[in-house]
Every structure is written in structure tokens, then in C-alpha cells.
Symmetry: C2
Subunit: 354 residues, 2 copies
């Protein structure tokens, strides 16, 4: 089988994770990544044997790194490029992808018009089959779409109100706040609600957002109006059995996003990530025709499996379930439960060691 | 070769890491761990096939867990027990280890009198050979001892002043502060200075400590008076080539403890830990007969390799370097540099996948 040749443009928070995830796919080959300037991540990429390409300028990269060529050289070798540049650089790079006739994925920071479709695998995989330009929506939109899709399939969702309690910035960012305030987002609805419409266009979603001093995860407090009488146990059961969702519980002593981060580390997930959207069992309720729930979204990683599935859709794989199964298995997303594993070292003790 | 049978008492921040590290050793066997009460970590231990024992009371553990016996049942099966209970429970458990005649390691939270020796592998491994009770000193004392030993070997250290900027609590703890203040420790010297004397008794160390709102790592700002004229380049070279120390640099865009945490994640370290003591290249200076340096200490993990080496010393391995080499190799601590690796998934794509 010919492997799908994938390039990753931008090697930051999302790019480095997608590059690792591509390497793990049995049907994909990582052609290389681009770097903007030198930092320790470039050393790690080189240790992993990942070819590093440069953008317009080398910016001194050549002093610390064996460069494999420029952006066009990378794109020319690829079937699909995953653009993880900070917005709006993705849209700016699109001219290169068009010129060279190479398919491209953009991230949720770009406007939806940059692509032919917006993508969440469990919601609308089939719309992106054989497309040339696809946008994987933001971490928050991905999280809202994954869980609302379940309720919509069960009962038909008509109206959603949600408050997003957003993390201030990513863990590695030390030059951004707030560090001691709650900052309301002065945009109503916040852009997240309308963005859900690119995935689930029939649901009326209104979102309000605040930013709080934490770097770990976002949280969403959601109420969803449904057309049938909702059944709490049925909802819990469905959430528990759906891949890429994970139901946790105060009974297990998981009562905060800090505990979810610790769970990701203890499970042995790459980088301690949490690609599943996490819902608290005690944080799900129904009243009349409304479903209430609280969920946590790991901003650095929940879109990683989506990007992998988008690659397969664009390359013509018709079976969404098969793509998701390959992705979930390779990334350890086992139906919301990952078997943790620890491997014995291969180092053999020298004879007569003790 | 008969493997060393190791039990871990207490399965919290340190205990869970030591249990994983023991599993990775070619010359050790993890007999089991004890748990105080049920939480998600117990599920993970069981998934890993680690036998779980209980303490005095089962505390409902039996409802969620197949229990392998009580504390005495565990101790009876071990050559060495590593006690990771919160202090002073370790000292209280000592009666059990004495009664059953089993060797035991205690952690740095316990008073030094609990054991025959205090231990940092690179400083005084030989003192613990064949001992029955050894105390691995705290994360901060371990960090101070590792780097000061280098300077002491080079130039002879006579006097050390240090300010410890301590993390408030561990990442998973959500019920402890401060979250918006600097809290000076009302104890001069702070207990860390005198504790270094249990490892390097000839060095006069005075420490002052403050607690700040972060969970990531401690930092130490240190000045050390030496008896010969110090050479900056020689010091940097020695720090760079010493295992369990890691010299990082602003040139690599590593300028904070947040970046060190990100580095640990990107390197693929278990749990994103950083078992090396990290020093900034730009944060090392000399003036007259004094050496100044800044280092960061990962409170959750720097003592893990020490516990492993202490086990071997107590079981009679005379060669400290050999023990450290086995430990470093198995835990990926390659001379301050770990080769990061990513392994292709073993999942085979089904035929005719696309």
C-alpha cells in the first residue's frame, strides 16, 4: 500500500503533536516539518529523524540544523500539508498549496472561508471526502460539537446556551496573562457559538466566554434544549461508550482540570495530553426538556485525531468509522479508556551484576 | 540472576513513579504497592498488573479492587520496601519493617534519624552499602547536593548561601495555596540547608526559602564560596557532562520553568517529568572566589533515580557507577541528554484500507 505523504507546516503546540501522530499512523509517512526559527524543539525533531524545512527566511536555522529545503520543496513532496501556522499565516500560505496543487488542512484559528469544509470527524467526516482544502475547527468548537452530536442523535437538539471558561494561555507561554483576574470576552455571542454552526448548522448555539488564570484546560458549562424527554441514565451510558469522550467521576477523586492533567500523565499519554473531551458523571443533569453538562477540553490536543482523520477523508477513504478506529488505536484512544502500559527496559544487566 | 523484590508503600506522587521505575529495572521485581483508599490511580495500577495491598483498614478499597493482602503480607514478600507515605507515617511504619526484618527506604520528609544514612547517589552512595534503613533526602536537598558536589570536587566549597523559590504545591493538589502571594518561610535557616549537611557534612550551607504561586518546579539561586579561583568555562563543561544535571539555554528558547516542563513533555519523558536538575547556561557566573548559579528542581521526580540506586546499595552492589548507569539507561537519563524516541504503531492496516 502506498502511504499518504504528509507535511506539517509550523512546529509549535499543534504542529509537533500532529507530526508525532502522523508518524504513528500505519498508512502515513511524515515527509517533514517547517520551522520558523531555532529553538530546542528543532533539536528534538532532528533526534527523531524528522526532516526540517524553512519558510521564507532561514532565520539562523542553518546554524543549528541540517535544513532539507524551503516550504515549496516540502509541499512538492506531499499529498497533504497540515498547516499549523499561527493565524492568519495559514490563509497566506494557501497560495503556495494552490500553486503546487497540493491538498491542505488549516486549523480553527483561520476563517472558515479558507477551506471548502469545516471538520469534526464524528459529526461530518463525509463532507470532506476527496476535498482539497479542509479546516479542522478549534479545540473549543471540536469539544462542543463532539458532545452535542451525541445529544442531537439521541433527542434532537434545538437550542444551546454555553459558558466557556477558557484557559489563559498554553503551559509554555510565560508572557501572557491574566494571572489574577477573570476576563470576560467582549463579544456576544463569542465566536465559538457561530463556529459550531460550521459543523452542526441546524443547532442554534449562543456562547459567552471568560478567560481565567489557568493553563491546563478549558471548561464548558452547557445547557441544551432537546425535542424529546431526555433520560439521564441513557445520556450517561451513551457518553461513556462514545470514543473521544471520557466520563470521569468525583468517586475516582477526579474533581478538577488539574486532576485530569494528572490522569493524562498517569495513563502514559504522549506529553500527558488528554485528547478525549472529559465530562464529569456528577456534572450531567436533566430538567424538563433540557440537558445540562460540564466538560473539559484540552486545548493542546483534542484536535490531533481530527487532523489525522481529515487527512484520510481528503485522500478518499470513505469509511469514517474505519479511519477513526485506526486513529484511535494508534493514538491509544480506546473508547474513552486507554489501557495504560509500561514496558520493561530492553537493557540487559551485565553478568554477575550484583 | 535473582531479582531484587521491591515493595512500594504509598502510591501517591512519589510512590507511583518509583513503582513504574522499579518495573523498568532489569534486576528488580515489583512485588506490589499499598493504597490508602480508592482513587483512579488504583484502576491504573490494576491495569498495569501491579498487585495492590491495603494498610490497617481497607477503607472501601475492596469494592473497586482485588486486594492482595495487608501491609505485612507485602513486606514479607520483599527484600526492600520503599516507604513513600506522607511523613511521619514512614517512621511509624518502621516498626513493621523491623519486626519482619525487611530493609526499608524512607523519603526526605522523614527525620534523618529514621535511617542509618541519608542518600544522594552521586555524593555518598558507598555509605549505604548493605545498610538496612536508608533515607533518600528531599527533592530540594537532592538538587542542592548534586550540583554542589560538582563544585566541591572541582574547587572545594566552603560556604553556600541559597534562596529557594519553592513551588506552592504539586500539580494535582487543588486545595492548597498560595495562589496570589509570596510566602516567606519563617525559619532561618530553612530546613533545607541543615539537611544538605546529612549528605555533604563539611559544607556550611545557609538557606532561605519563599513559596510562590506555581506548581511546576522549585528554583534555587545559589552562591558558593570556593577555595581555588573558579573557571567559568570549566564549570559549565563539568555541569554539561554530568549525568542527572542538564544545562539549558535561552538560545534554545528555554527561559522559565514552564519551558522546562514543556521540554520534559516534548522529550517523551514519563509523565512529562524532569529528573535532571536543570541549570541555565546564562545563569552561571563567577566573581572572585564565588560561583553563582540558578537551577530548577522538579519536585515530583528528581528523587526517583536516587531511590532506585539506594535499593541496589542496600542490597550490596558495591559499584555506584554501575548502579547509576543501569538506572540512567533504564529511565532514559543519558548524561543530561535523553534521546527522544517515537515508535511506529504496531497496528497493521487492514488490506485494501483506502
Amino acid at each position: 500500500m502506498e502511504k499518504i505523504k504528509v507535511g506539517v507546516v509550523g512546529y509549535g503546540t499543534i504542529g509537533k503533536r500532529i507530526a508525532d501522530a502522523v508518524i504513528l499512523q500505519p498508512d502515513m509517512e511524515l515527509v517533514g516539518v517547517t520551522a520558523h526559527s531555532y529553538n530546542y524543539r528543532i533539536d528534538i525533531a532532528q533526534e527523531k529523524g524528522i526532516p526540517v524545512f524553512y519558510l521564507e527566511e532561514k532565520n539562523g536555522l542553518e546554524k543549528n540544523c541540517k535544513l532539507a529545503g524551503n516550504l515549496k520543496a516540502l509541499v512538492n513532496k506531499c499529498d497533504v500539508v497540515v498547516d499549523c501556522s499561527p493565524s492568519p499565516c495559514g490563509a497566506e500560505n494557501k497560495a503556495v498549496y494552490e500553486e503546487l496543487g497540493v491538498k491542505a488542512i488549516f486549523q480553527g484559528g483561520e476563517k472558515s472561508e479558507v477551506a471548502q469544509t469545516s471538520f469534526v470527524a464524528q459529526c461530518n467526516y463525509e463532507k470532506s471526502i476527496n476535498k482539497d482544502y479542509v479546516r479542522v475547527v478549534s479545540c473549543n468548537t471540536t469539544g462542543l460539537s463532539r458532545s452535542l452530536k451525541i445529544l442531537d442523535d439521541l433527542y434532537g437538539v434545538t437550542k444551546v446556551n454555553a459558558t466557556l471558561i477558557r484557559r489563559a494561555t498554553d503551559p509554555g507561554q510565560v508572557n501572557k496573562g491574566p494571572i489574577n483576574a477573570i476576563v470576560p470576552t467582549m463579544e456576544l455571542p463569542s465566536h465559538h457559538g457561530p463556529d459550531v454552526l460550521t459543523i452542526l448548522p441546524h443547532i442554534d448555539v449562543f456562547t459567552m466566554a471568560v478567560v481565567v488564570p489557568t493553563t491546563i484546560m478549558h471548561m464548558h458549562n452547557i445547557s441544551a434544549k432537546v425535542t424529546k424527554t431526555p433520560d439521564l441514565e441513557e445520556i450517561k451510558k451513551k457518553f461513556k461508550s462514545t470514543p473521544r469522550l471520557r466520563v470521569v467521576s468525583a468517586k475516582e477523586k477526579i474533581t478538577s482540570t488539574a486532576h485530569l492533567a494528572e490522569l493524562g500523565r498517569d495513563l502514559g499519554y504522549s506529553r500527558g495530553d488528554m485528547m478525549d473531551i472529559c465530562l464529569w458523571e456528577e456534572g450531567i443533569a436533566v430538567k424538563d426538556n433540557e440537558v445540562f453538562f460540564m466538560q473539559a477540553v484540552h486545548q493542546e490536543s483534542d484536535v490531533i485525531p481530527e487532523n489525522i482523520d481529515a487527512i484520510r477523508a481528503m485522500m478518499g477513504m470513505k469509511d469514517a468509522d474505519m479511519s477513526m478506529e485506526i486513529t484511535n488505536t494508534s493514538l491509544g484512544l480506546m473508547n474513552g479508556k486507554k489501557k495504560s502500559k509500561i514496558q520493561k527496559t530492553e537493557v540487559e544487566p551485565e553478568k554477575g551484576l550484583i
